[in-house]
Symmetry: C2
Subunit: 407 residues, 2 copies
């Protein structure tokens, strides 16, 4: 007897989370003998609990699907809803009643750590009540911090964006012939994967960024001061990349160094990132021209230079998840294994979702060099295959055309 698919997106957006949605919908429609409809939760499980969902397999044209595939952010909308740990909570029967009412046989959640936690709990509850509904997680995060996978869809495009943007800002920083420091703050609270990608910005020996600091190593102002002085002896324009989550030896976040005095003239708190704090430190310690640039959300939502390899792998993660669920998998997350480095080849497999959820894969210590100021060539070998290829975006009146949900 035919069943329906329900797919949702959860957590922060990426440039390719919609490519995984595309993979789920298109693959689901190729199994018409087993699948009747593909439904999409609007705003994830939170929205579904309010009966907010869409029909995707019939109501979307192929043209719309192709546009969704190349649209950043989350087409279905997202949420930060976390299920209670207590499986006797009344929310569980409520969810399953709604799933049964829609005749859902296969549930796919595209997201990061927290989303995998949702998949884990729902599959546990299904097992407890003897439900046949299958729950599979599709990985997604620009942070690349999920366990048991070579990398995550979304990271490649974000890394490519970071490398290109740091390269351009470094060119911009080099036009004047006077000593100047540029601090670039990149995303990554606990994991430095994205900031590490700034090493790719270098075009030649001695090119910027000269200093790269990740959350995985202690940020010491005195050591930084010496490293910067040394860099300034080598060249007048120095670009420094810092992860938003860098902290001192006591674990205190650098961005919190302005806690005490961040009031504006309304007497209200002014929050600034670690880039501003480091900019300030350089200004006062070195008395030199310095500015800070926070690259901000474009790291996760820019499609201007998304990686073709990343988009393709994101689609693959979605379609593989559907095939796996149809073959009986539940309580699993789709995982990537690098079967060969040169030429790069990838294989999808499944891992137990409860071994993934609520954990973080941080940047390997052995890939951090120069006593915490640089990144090793081994990382470059690792990341290069993930940023290869560009896609031609559909354009309209000179601007990228993106899909949006009509509400």
């Amino acid at each position: 007897m035919k069943k329906n698919i329900l797919v949702g997106q959860s957590g922060g957006p990426t440039a390719v989370i919609n490519a995984s949605l595309y993979g789920v919908v298109v693959e689901g429609m190729e199994h018409l003998d087993e699948v009747e409809h593909v439904y999409g939760m609007v705003h994830g499980l939170e929205g579904f609990l309010k009966d907010d969902y869409l029909e995707l397999s019939e109501d979307l044209t192929q043209k719309e699907l192709e546009l969704i595939k190349l649209t950043p952010a989350a087409y279905l909308g997202s949420c930060r809803y976390k299920l209670p740990g207590d499986l006797t909570s009344p929310v569980y029967p409520t969810v399953f009643e709604k799933l049964e009412a829609l005749e859902i046989g296969y549930f796919f959640y595209i997201g990061g750590n927290d989303s995998m936690d949702t998949v884990s709990k729902l599959s546990l509850y299904a097992d407890r009540i003897g439900s046949s509904i299958r729950f599979v997680g599709i990985p997604k995060t620009i942070d690349n911090d999920l366990m048991l996978t070579d990398h995550t869809p979304g990271y490649g495009s974000a890394a490519k964006y970071v490398a290109s943007t740091v390269r351009e800002i470094s060119l911009d920083a080099s036009v004047y012939n006077q000593p100047a420091v540029t601090i670039i703050e990149l995303m990554g609270r606990n994991a430095g994967w994205l900031t590490a990608a700034s090493v790719l910005a270098r075009q030649h020996e001695g090119d910027n960024p000269l200093l790269i600091y990740l959350p995985e190593s202690v940020f010491d102002f005195q050591a930084f001061s010496e490293d910067l002085a040394d860099a300034l002896r080598r060249q007048p324009n120095v670009v420094v990349c810092v992860s938003e989550g860098i902290a001192d030896s006591s674990g205190r976040l650098i961005c919190e160094y302005n806690d005490e005095a961040k009031l504006d003239s309304f007497g209200h708190k002014m929050l600034t990132g670690c880039g501003k704090v480091v900019e300030n430190f350089v200004h006062n310690r070195f008395n030199i021209k310095v500015r800070s640039v926070e690259v901000n959300v474009s790291q996760r939502c820019s499609s201007l230079i998304s990686s073709a390899a990343d988009v393709e792998e994101a689609v693959l993660a979605g379609s593989f998840g559907v095939r796996a669920a149809l073959e009986g998998a539940t309580g699993k997350m789709v995982s990537f294994a690098r079967t060969c480095q040169d030429p790069y080849t990838l294989q999808c497999s499944l891992v137990d979702v409860d071994q993934v959820c609520n954990q973080e894969k941080t940047f390997p210590a052995q890939w951090i060099t120069g006593h915490g100021t640089d990144i090793s060539p081994e990382f470059v070998d690792y990341v290069l295959p993930l940023i290869q290829g560009e896609l031609k975006h559909p354009m309209k009146q000179g601007l990228p055309l993106y899909a949006f949900r009509r509400s």
Copy 2:
């Protein structure tokens, strides 16, 4: 008798200032009967005064020239050097001795207001001493604030970048189903041309950005508060675009509202932009989820989505300038005239550089609507032709390849 060309870049970088350099070099090389060498000043006039210049017509391969054409920032390096107003200053004979020593017949300066001031003064001095050297300015600025020209090379690409980026950030801002405000701070201290381009980000009726504030109209916190409340009644996710230079009715910059209390824990000043101040105001007045994003220098140095029309016109400005100088023009700036709106056609002409320098063309008041919160369709008609077309960048290992000067 053959003479040489000297070309320099001055002021802030743009995505296409190197396309104008390309235009000057390539056009110069096509007049071998009149032009012997094309030299480039390194770091503008300031560098030239230290005898820092390059040979461009012989030492660069065609491949290198094509790469320079698509490289952002200033290939020759830039400066913020201003010549003294007193033409009896000893710097003038020094400059002209160096120009004569290099047998320069034609001097081109690619830049904005200040650079045109340099062209004006040098041509005045040439006239005073009866020198036959001709001085022509090539316009360049993302701010689009030069007088006597329909628009400036560099603006189209920056406007395209702003519109695409605001569109992507608006998608990112719309994923959660809870009321939230996103403040996007865009470049423009006195002229709102770039911030106005954010109106192009809208894909449908009622799309973000819902509110757009330019420096040309007074920013009043009470009025903003009412406009925002009204916008939040219409939809949960509101994106607000503000120019860095917005000011209150007394002329006080909004970014200065945190002057009094911008100390970090080292007791040092913390400078933040107007976006942070407005974010803060919203947070405290509305008690709602709010963030601010400063798009920053990528507006002037990103080539990821530069406008093909802008690149082509920037090349044209350079080559037209060379032809004009060879025909006798001096003390002029290359100017663009829109000869037809639909289909868009452009014609180059010359204007007296001293009517351009040290002036700013601000955004037309009649194009500001919604009592200072929106932009009129007439501006959209004006700007659309300037952002048309994309270029394929040379890529290497998944990243844009850019030209750099070997020092």
